[in-house]
């Protein structure tokens, strides 16, 4: 399963959500499918995409928030699972693309390649709904279900360690950030 195919499969579902991605391949691939003002790409600060999603979810309880995380990023901030589980916002969908690799920085294997089980960690941290998917169809179903559901969900998507040729997009980081905030503020106006 390729991450790009997963992103493509749920791209239409993202239109009404606020989306936060990690850096590197995930950001570049979502951007390549067509940037939208409700997409924020956290192009550094590994580990903090889930925290950002939590801050959004707690601040905007009526808005669906989707975080595209990765195994390398989540392993840098495993405590975030316990913090998310503590507040368990029902409007947050936490998706972890697990390619068992730090692909964007040279492809070094992460601990999920030697047996670390992110589904087990997330469940034990107290995330109410956790599942692992291995096919694009299962991924699409899981994401749709989570978006329509009423429980904080972490979806581990096992994907191949393959990504785009480059990671730099034509969207400046600061432009992205202001556009994202302006988009959210526009939702509040009647």
């Amino acid at each position: 399963m390729l991450r790009l195919d997963c992103l493509q499969a749920v791209y239409p579902e993202l239109e009404k959500c606020l989306v936060v991605t990690i850096m590197g391949a995930t950001a570049a691939e979502l951007h390549s499918l067509g940037h939208r003002p409700n997409f924020f790409y956290l192009q550094h600060a590994m580990g903090l995409a889930s925290s950002t999603g939590l801050g959004l979810a707690l601040s905007l309880p009526d808005q669906k928030i989707v975080v595209f995380d990765g195994d390398g990023s989540l392993l840098m901030n495993l405590g975030s699972l316990s913090t998310m589980a503590r507040y368990r916002p029902k409007n947050l969908v936490h998706i972890v693309f697990d390619n068992e690799s730090l692909l964007s920085v040279g492809g070094f294997p992460t601990a999920t390649s030697t047996g670390t089980d992110l589904e087990g960690i997330a469940r034990a941290a107290g995330i109410p709904t956790v599942l692992t998917v291995r096919s694009v169809e299962d991924f699409r179903t899981a994401v749709k279900h989570a978006l329509n559901g009423t429980q904080l969900t972490t979806i581990i998507a096992k994907v191949e360690a393959r990504g785009p040729a480059g990671y730099v997009t034509d969207l400046s980081l600061v432009e992205n950030r202001f556009q994202f905030r302006r988009y959210i503020q526009s939702l509040k106006r009647p």
Binding site: H44, A45, G55, S59, N77
Partner: protein, 170 residues
């Protein structure tokens, strides 16, 4: 416990007057009253963290959502947050109001706090983070307001160091 309840109240009220509605925190002795006040106030969302760096992401999310927030942490928590501050808050121009208990300075009895005290201000200066002190109860409200104003207008992290003189009664 000789942590000043009256000073904590003044700080908390100053944050509320600045319309701070989300606080991220990790417990530390000097912050116990502030954290309890945040927990008991229905207008404030308290986010208890596993590690302080998460608070940078929480505050960024709140900022995008239009909610004013602040981070409550010890100076060692600030040390643990540095990458998040640089590679998120500085990189993306995110306002952060950081209230940092300034442990390990004159009067510190806990040996384990003393190294953090030595490096806190040097790091703040090195990172280009504007900072000031909460050291007298009379000026707390004004300083908090000024720090919050600067964070929002400059879109950057701003630090207030909570000092022993204000926080500890003995």
């Amino acid at each position: 416990m000789p942590v000043s309840l009256s000073s904590s109240k003044v700080i908390f009220n100053a944050l509320k007057q600045c319309h701070v509605r989300m606080l991220s925190a990790l417990p530390e002795t000097w912050l116990v009253h502030l954290i309890r006040m945040a927990e008991e106030d229905p207008e404030v969302t308290l986010v208890r963290l596993a590690k302080e760096e998460e608070g940078v992401g929480i505050s960024a999310g709140a900022h995008f959502a239009g909610v004013k927030s602040a981070m409550l942490m010890q100076n060692h928590g600030f040390l643990a947050s540095i990458n998040g501050i640089v590679s998120f808050a500085h990189l993306y121009k995110i306002p952060l109001l950081m209230l940092i208990s300034y442990r390990g300075t004159f009067g510190e009895r806990d040996p384990w706090q003393t190294q953090g005290g030595n490096v806190t201000e040097a790091l703040l200066r090195g990172m280009g983070i504007p900072y000031s002190f909460l050291d007298e109860i009379e000026t707390v409200e004004k300083r908090v307001r000024q720090a919050q104003t600067l964070a929002e207008s400059s879109l950057q992290p701003v630090a207030l160091l909570l000092t022993r003189d204000l926080m500890w009664e003995e």
